[in-house]
């Protein structure tokens, strides 16, 4: 299977370097007494061709960070760079095009459009851009996510795991610079979850894909190359080459 996963023409310029970074990023809700600092002057970099996990307790700001990195939300202060482009200063229209052409998304739920079949869902971002997917690459991705016989099915006819695989295929198909995954296994049973994570891992190792994933599951974080820990809007720690146990230990020490 490893052979078939070679992309015909990778769009990522180099397999090394920084894919995305936040510089002095702050996100503040409300003001005065009611002020909440969801992100408090965070600076962090995400390496190319790596799977980075962001972890932290509820309200730590991990989802806000992901949304800001993905151009779905705006910072109060600081800057976000995607490659060399500063996306935090872009307008809504430019951001939409960036999301469509340069980013991939995997959400926890409501990941697919119910009126479109699996194949249409996968190719949705490219269709929106008015482009045709590369036939060979499409074939590769479809084979990899093992959905060949399900392409004409509507989401309502697919299991949760299958739906999420379609979502992963959609995120990869346009060969984005970064895929952002927000609790991608949150709604799945452990077997389906493991399948998705394995596939994401493969995409990084074999295709050189960059993935940033928010999760609260140490088991999921163990698939990452690096884990960044957030608490109260600050980056409090990080861990390279994590295992489920090391992540759990770190969480305990941070929580305690």
């Amino acid at each position: 299977m490893a052979d078939t996963l070679t992309p015909p023409a990778p769009s990522a310029p180099a397999a090394t370097g920084i894919a995305a970074r936040a510089v002095g990023a702050s996100k503040i809700y409300g003001s005065g007494e009611a002020e909440v600092r969801a992100l408090d002057n965070i600076s962090v970099e995400f390496e190319r061709s790596k799977l980075t996990a962001i972890m932290g307790p509820s309200g730590s700001g991990k989802s806000t960070l992901l949304h800001c990195l993905a151009g779905l939300d705006r910072l109060t202060a600081g800057a976000i760079y995607l490659g060399d482009a500063e996306i935090s200063s872009m307008n809504e229209k430019q951001l939409t095009v960036i999301r469509r052409d340069k980013l991939g998304f995997i959400f926890q739920a409501y990941n697919l459009i119910p009126t479109l079949d699996a194949l249409e869902n996968m190719t949705l971002p490219m269709s929106l851009a008015g482009r045709k997917p590369d036939a060979e690459w499409l074939d590769t991705v479809v084979t990899t996510v093992r959905l060949g016989d399900r392409l004409k099915h509507r989401p309502s006819e697919l299991s949760g795991g299958q739906q999420q695989r379609v979502a992963v295929a959609r995120a990869l198909l346009s060969r984005p610079e970064i895929v952002f995954a927000d609790e991608p296994t949150g709604n799945l049973d452990s077997k389906s979850g493991a399948e998705i994570l394995t596939f994401m891992r493969k995409a990084v190792d074999e295709l050189g894909q960059t993935i940033v994933m928010v999760t609260h599951d140490p088991g999921a974080a163990a698939y990452a190359d690096r884990v960044v820990f957030l608490a109260d809007g600050h980056i409090v720690d990080e861990l390279a080459a994590p295992t489920a146990d090391s992540v759990l230990d770190k969480m305990r020490s941070l929580g305690g």
Binding site: L72, T96, V97, F107, L112, T115, P125, S127, L128, A129
Partner: protein, 850 residues
């Protein structure tokens, strides 16, 4: 429970308003109709009371038949006046004379009768002011034979002042008169836009009527003598006089009431017309209410189930939904009622603009307007919301734990069978109304149309999905993924789509029906003139009625060079074979040179003074053969017998034709309705100029070439058409609100989905486009269904009216195409608000999981 409902409504103000709009417009029509009627009635009640305040009794001829055009009554002999004056208790009595007189303005144009049908009255001046309905406001009454007074509205319009010379056209031709005074009709400047000329009594007898006759004798009683008493005394006095079998005496109160109710009867067509549109609006509105509540219930399914789970009874859930419906009903009825009051003032102004002047007077709001506004508004809303509410109450508590808004399959066999049955029932009623001989055919047609709409609406969910797919296919091809999403969204909820489209379907079907019917009528008229008319020119009276061309015009036209053949055509209403119909008269010797009537029996050009020619279908309907006797009742001369001497097959000209000689004997005060002219060299500029010069002497009637005449006849159809279009436009606007409302609700339902689309790179513009195309698909679906129904209705209608001269079915493809394009444009307009709303959704809010 009520608090939950109220909070829910407040949270969705816009939706609440949109839901109400449909009912508001319908109720406004209802309320407007009642207010307008009451306003007009009260104005005229006052006017007639005032006019007849000094009239205690009226002596006049009995009515031969009831006629909408005010005919049907003969005259009384002037010799009765001394008898009436001699009756006990009579203080004053004088005869009144009424006829047709057209005032010519300073630009040599006719006043008043410009095709709008407002009458142009001529009266005899009654010197005794107490007995006259005319009040002098300037100058003095006509004393000399060439003096006249005219109504203030006409004087103002034409700029005539006392002392001016005023040309007036009467049956005696055109003559100049001196304006000696200006009058009002009671206290009103004019009567419904009619023009009034009053002549000195001797002149009036000559130019308006037959000397020695009166239309009526008005009586004022001695002080202290009651109306009943004086009426009885006059009757007694007349009983001894000769030839008074056909004379009746009625009291002043009765003539007041009669005038008031006649006027209301004449305006009642207007009421019926408006009420029909009220019904259409409310029908369209009920679809929208039904749909809105269905969607609300589907969306709130989880919430309602939760209420049930925590202990709400089924009745309470039902009550909660119905409470919202009642609120919508009250709110919409109240606004609709107020809107109707404004609509009534608007319509009053509109009536004035088309020449029907209604005397000044405040708007009158009768209790019936309030009651019917609320009754119709509430009933429509509540009935339409009842089914969705019942469905809501059936949601099991367990549904709280399930996903909501799942559309069940809609192609159940029961639905198809039921839908087909209802549709067939409607079609049957329609056919019965159109082709049956029942007396209430019109009601059956209306009901049939309504039931067909209902049947198609029941079938709707079954056909909506496949049809929308077909309609959406080119859009999908053209617009790629946005088109595909639009198509899929239109198809995903067939019940909703079809109910939304059904509202539009009704308006479009009626527009289509009217359009095709009018096109068929135009083609038929055009073809009928082509077939039947040999004349090169027509002098045509404008408007309806019995014509305004003085007969002397015929002789003058005959003297024009190149003119070969001239015949006036006159019409009157008469009682023929027991029912009132139009009787036509022409010069038999000229008929064959001016018309091609396709005689099948007898020789129409040899029609004797007691002979009658009949259209073949009319003859067979009445079982008449050559040589049979036909009894014709005339108001002046009573029943006369005619012998069938010719039968012709050319429809579209006339049903019953008698020679001018017979007409002369039985109908007083004749005018030509039309004069047909044949020249030796056809239509040439020289002929036109020469004829025009003669016709210009009698302003009002127009000289038309054969082609212009055809155009005029066709245009009459168009004029009526425009008014209907304006009113049906409201029905379509209501349907647009329905589409906007449904889409708006659907978008709330699809929040997550839209958020996802935006997150993965759909631009706002693409999202708006997708919503817009979905709206266009729904619009086109409604339009398509409507046009199919409209075409079928029109086809049936044209076939039913084949023997009325509408025998050509014309599909009017250009107009139908315009309707389709407009429907698409309307779809785009309806989508503006929902599309903006969709595009404005905050992405993060939308994709946030609960």
């Amino acid at each position: 429970m009520w608090k939950v409902t109220l909070k829910g409504i407040w949270a969705k103000k816009v939706r609440f308003l949109l839901t109400g709009v449909a009912v508001i417009l319908g109720v406004a029509f209802v309320s407007g109709t009642f207010v307008l009627t009451a306003t007009i009635s009260s104005t005229f009640d006052k006017l007639f009371t005032e006019i007849y305040q000094n009239t205690d009794a009226v002596v006049r001829a009995k009515q031969t038949f009831d006629s909408n055009f005010g005919g049907g009554r003969g005259r009384v002999d002037a010799s009765l006046l001394p008898v009436v004056r001699g009756a006990t208790g009579v203080a004053q009595a004088d005869g009144s004379v009424q006829g047709l007189a057209v005032i010519v303005d300073k630009n040599d144009k006719a006043l008043g009768s410009n095709g709008r049908g407002a009458p142009t009255f001529g009266f005899a001046w009654i010197p005794d002011r107490d007995l006259s309905s005319l009040t002098l406001v300037d100058g003095h009454g006509p004393k000399k034979a060439d003096e006249i007074v005219i109504d203030k509205a006409s004087a103002d319009n034409a700029g005539y002042k006392v002392g001016d010379t005023v040309p007036v056209i009467t049956k005696a031709g055109r003559a100049d008169y001196q304006l000696s005074g200006i009058v009002k009709f009671g206290s009103s400047n004019s009567l419904l836009g009619a023009t009034i000329v009053a002549f000195a009594p001797e002149t009036a007898a000559k130019v308006l009527a037959t000397p020695g006759t009166f239309d009526a004798i008005n009586v004022k009683a001695d002080p202290g003598v009651s109306q009943v008493e004086v009426t009885r005394n006059i009757r007694a006095a007349l009983r001894d006089a000769p030839d008074t079998k056909n004379v009746e005496v009625i009291s002043g109160d009765k003539i007041t009431q009669e005038s008031q109710s006649n006027l209301k009867k004449n305006l009642s067509f207007f009421n019926t017309f408006l009420l029909v549109f009220a019904i259409v609006s409310l029908l369209v509105g009920s679809f929208i209410i039904f749909n809105t509540f269905s969607i609300i219930v589907a969306q709130r399914g989880r919430e309602l189930a939760l209420l049930r789970a925590i202990g709400a009874a089924r009745g309470q859930v039902l009550g909660s939904v119905m409470f919202e419906a009642v609120l919508v009903g009250i709110f919409a009825s109240a606004i609709g009622f107020v809107g109707g009051v404004f609509l009534a003032s608007g319509l009053k102004a509109l009536l004035g603009a088309i020449g029907v002047d209604i005397p000044a007077g405040g708007i009158v709001i009768p209790a019936s307007a309030v009651i019917w506004s609320f009754v119709t508004g509430m009933v429509v809303t509540i009935v339409a919301a009842l089914f969705p509410a019942l469905r809501a109450s059936r949601i099991p508590p367990i549904a709280a734990m399930r996903d909501v808004a799942i559309d069940r399959s809609n192609s159940s066999r029961t639905r198809i069978v039921l839908g087909l049955l209802v549709t067939l029932l409607g079609a049957g009623l329609l056919a019965l109304g159109l082709f049956g001989n029942g007396s209430n055919g019109l009601a059956q047609v209306g009901l049939g149309i309504g039931v067909v709409f209902l049947g198609v609406a029941v079938l709707g969910p079954t056909i909506a999905a496949p049809l929308s797919r077909v309609i959406g296919a080119p859009i999908r091809k053209m617009k790629g993924i946005t088109g595909a999403l639009a198509q899929e969204n239109a198809v995903r909820n067939p019940k909703r789509t079809s109910a939304t489209a059904a509202a539009l379907m009704i308006g479009v079907a009626l527009v289509g029906l009217i359009t095709i019917f009018a096109a068929s009528a135009r083609t038929s008229i055009s073809a009928s003139i082509d077939r039947s008319m040999k004349a090169d020119y027509v002098v045509n009276s404008s408007g309806f009625g019995t014509g305004t061309i003085p007969i002397v015009a015929e002789d003058k036209l005959r003297e024009v060079p190149n003119v070969e053949s001239v015949s006036g055509v006159r019409t009157t209403q008469a009682k023929i074979k027991g029912s009132v119909d139009f009787l036509w008269a022409a010069d038999p010797a000229k008929i064959n040179s001016l018309f091609d009537l396709q005689p099948t029996a007898g020789n129409i050009s040899k029609l004797s003074p007691t002979g009658i020619a009949i259209l073949d279908t009319v003859a067979s309907d009445n079982n008449l053969k050559m040589g049979d006797t036909v009894k014709v009742g005339f108001p002046s001369t009573g029943t006369q017998e005619f012998r069938v001497e010719s039968i012709f097959s050319q429809a579209g000209f006339a049903n019953w034709v008698v020679p001018l000689a017979a007409f002369d004997k039985n109908v007083p005060d004749q005018f030509d309705n039309q004069i047909y002219i044949k020249t030796s060299d056809g239509v040439t500029p020289e002929n036109t100029a020469a004829l025009k010069k003669v016709v210009a002497e009698f302003p009002g009637p127009k000289l038309e070439t054969r082609d212009q005449f055809k155009q005029t006849q066709v245009n009459q159809v168009n004029q009526l058409l425009n008014l209907i279009y304006v009113l049906l436009f409201f029905a379509i606007v209501i349907a647009l609100f329905g589409i906007a409302n449904t889409l708006g609700l659907s978008i709330i339902e699809r929040t997550h989905e839209l958020g996802l689309l935006r997150a993965v790179g759909m631009t706002r513009r693409q999202l708006r486009s997708s919503v817009r195309w979905e709206s266009v698909i729904i619009s086109l679906l409604g339009t398509f269904l409507g046009l199919v129904i409209g075409v079928l209705f029109a086809w049936a209608l044209v076939h039913a009216l084949a023997d009325q001269g509408i025998d050509q079915f014309s599909l009017a493809p250009v107009q139908l195409l315009v309707i389709v394009v407009l429907a698409g444009v309307f779809g785009v307009i309806a989508a503006i608000w929902p599309a903006r709303r969709a595009a404005r959704l905050d992405i993060l809010e939308s994709i946030r999981t609960e």
